[in-house]
Amino acid sequence: MHCRASWHLNKAARFLWWSIFLVVLGVSFRISQVDIGSLIGGLSQSFALGREMLPPDFSRGKQILILAAETVAMGFWGTILGMIISLPLGFLAARNTAQNWFLYHLSKTLVTLLRSIPDVIYAFFFVTAFGLGPQAGVAALTLATVGLLGKFYSEAVESIDEKPVEALAATGSRGLSVIRHAIVPQVLPLFMGYNLYLLDHNIRVALALGVVGAGGLGVELFTQMRGFHYQKAAAILVVILVIITAIDRVSAYLRNRIIKGGFLQPGSRSRDAALVGAIGLFTIVSFYFMPVDLKEMAAGAPRIWEFLKGMVPPDFSRISVYLKLMLETVGMGISGTFLAMVLAVPLGVLASRNVSHHPLIYNLAKEITNFLRAMPDLVFALIFVVAVGLGPFAGVLALGLNTAGFLGKFYAEAIENVDPKPVEAVEATGARLPQRIFHSIFPQVLPLFNSYNLYILDRNIRYSTIMGLVGAGGIGYELVMTSRMFEYRQMAAMLLVILATIMILDLVSAYLRKQVV
């Protein structure tokens, strides 16, 4: 069984693909201002900024801690509200529990649409509608969570074993009772795992949302960076680093326990219980720091309606500017992905246990990868805008470094799962390590690498639209400017351009996926 894949293409088609790839890459470099000179300059400027940040200045430690608690609370609230909304949507959007054709497609489309827009765009939207503050952040996180959890939940429901469902249906039970007794027990561990993942994800996103004014630590970071207080900003970065590392560890541990079914089982019950207790306590404490006022949020709803009304009809008079900016945005996404690929190959190789025999190198590569992945891309963007100046190049660096973390992890996992037999055979010829990597490992992982690259490309083009919110190039900057001037109809036109671009790119990437994978 062979699927239609690249090795079936003849030489001419291969040549064509390579040419397209190189031309697209060249044009992207051009429009996002990436060249050798800018890369070298960027490196030295970043080091210069790094030096100015040392040592971190913790004089505002107390405010930072309060804001950190607020950030975590935003993540919790967004996750919990998102969970509540996703629960019915997940079942409605699953084929096997859908109530009727209309509701199925409505909920599925809603979830897909919510997922296709970057979270920060929601935050930006709600800040414009609600005003500055954590309420806007929570609302944004909620919508983004529904986009992800709605999909995860419905896929989990669709993948269940149907036998217990049929057995129960045969006894005459129907509807909610079947869901309650035959489906929920099966999907509960999966749901819990996804919830934890989203909590982890949302707290990280919450760290960045403040950059557009939606509450939390990001606000403070943005203020200090813009005020040239780099040592104070460094203190915030340290706190962010501690938070993301701690959360990464705890959630990886808990998810692992839940998926393996060992959660709260004898042996580690007290440790698990202590962890859950700590999270619970932390939740209560952080709610104290940010009492989310649901009433106030509800009161904001009519304002959103007003705001939406102010957006119609969209004003397309500056469409040519938007299209040009959109091109720059896409170029940033492509350049950023290429940068990520280039960085991720050595990171991935060094972070795989079967290649990197030295534990020090292995752990170092793994920690760097984790750090790059966990750091929100907007935080990177904020730093690089200061280091290398406004413009798309800062965005390319931010996207590239952040997703080098993702790709590095994916690459390493692929490398750790290669068939070891040919690897040993090549080693048995007396080949050196680099020869072994190129001749026995890369040929095995290349198709996987390609599919990961496409996934990251897809994501980067989506997220390149938000880089401009902090001045790192692309259409985002124009979006901020227009909103400051209350030109909501122009804003609507821009959002539509973004949405249309994302949809077209979805089609393109689906096509490419079929070609390459």
Binding site: W7, D419, K421, P422, E424, A425, V426, E427, A428, T429, G430, A431, R432, P434, Q435, R436, F438, H439, S440, P443, Q444, L446, P447
Partner: protein, 260 residues
């Protein structure tokens, strides 16, 4: 060519090699037999350095293996071509690319290291690969992807890869265990032809005693990690075979029953 002295190896307390002494002369062909778990694979893997023995020494071509020095291991491995039961080819690439991998150990310095790593080989190397492919009868398959070949063809690619090393010694661990009788015979004939024409020493682990009788002059049998037979093939009579393949536990079991 190969000298094994007092070789011992334990895995988690289990004694797998219990003091092996073995000499194989240059150009010899030796069949290695023995019941499952008797340590054949472990012995082969200590000779090419993938298993580190607890005690004893091995020298190949007059050079003793220093298991603690990766460079010494690499130099030993360059001399040894390895043939596996499951071929161990890189499935997603072409026959040609797999055969070229055999040259990597030789191209381990300077510019040729760099170019061979990224897949560029000199015309001489490429022609050598082509010659070897026609030697194993696959001259028309050079561009084919390995996963489209039959088992017998794959094993011939693996043999070409091993020959690409210009080895002094071929180690084959059950090279025909996954092949049909016809392909098995062809592979065995090919291995013996290499042994005779190219004067490459051959040690082959085999389960099929008919193949052993057809092709080898000397047989070494392992049992519970020790050599229990090492002589000319014609001395391998039914009684000996029974001896080699009867597991002691069965005897103990019978003895235990008799005791009751």
């Amino acid at each position: 060519m190969v000298k094994v002295a007092n070789l011992r190896k334990r895995f988690n307390g289990l004694e797998v090699l219990a003091g092996i002494n073995l000499r194989v002369k240059k150009g010899e062909a030796v069949a290695l037999i023995g019941p499952s778990g008797s340590g054949k694979t472990t012995l082969i893997r200590t000779i090419n350095g993938f298993v580190i023995p607890d005690a004893g020494t091995i020298s190949v071509g007059g050079e003793e293996i220093n298991y603690r020095d990766p460079e010494s291991l690499r130099q030993i491995r360059k001399k040894i071509g390895m043939i596996y039961q499951l071929f161990n080819l890189v499935e997603r690439t072409s026959v040609q690319v797999n055969v070229m991998a055999g040259a990597l150990g030789r191209l381990d310095r300077g510019l040729s290291l760099l170019s061979s790593t990224v897949g560029f080989f000199t015309r001489r190397e490429r022609e050598k690969a082509r010659e070897l492919l026609s030697f194993v009868g696959l001259e028309d398959k050079a561009g084919e992807r390995v996963d489209r070949l039959s088992g017998g063809q794959k094993q011939r690619v693996a043999i070409a890869r091993a020959l690409m090393q210009e080895p002094e010694l071929l180690l084959a661990d059950e090279p025909i265990a996954n092949l049909d009788p016809k392909a098995s015979r062809k592979i065995m004939e090919l291995l013996l032809r290499i042994n005779q024409e190219k004067k490459i020493t051959l040690i082959a682990v085999l389960h099929h005693l008919d193949s052993v009788r057809d092709h080898f002059q000397r047989v070494v049998a392992l049992k519970e990690g020790a050599i229990c037979f090492d002589a000319a093939t014609r001395k391998l009579n039914d009684h000996r075979i029974q001896d080699i393949y009867t597991v002691d536990e069965e005897i103990e079991c019978i003895a235990a029953q008799a005791g009751i």
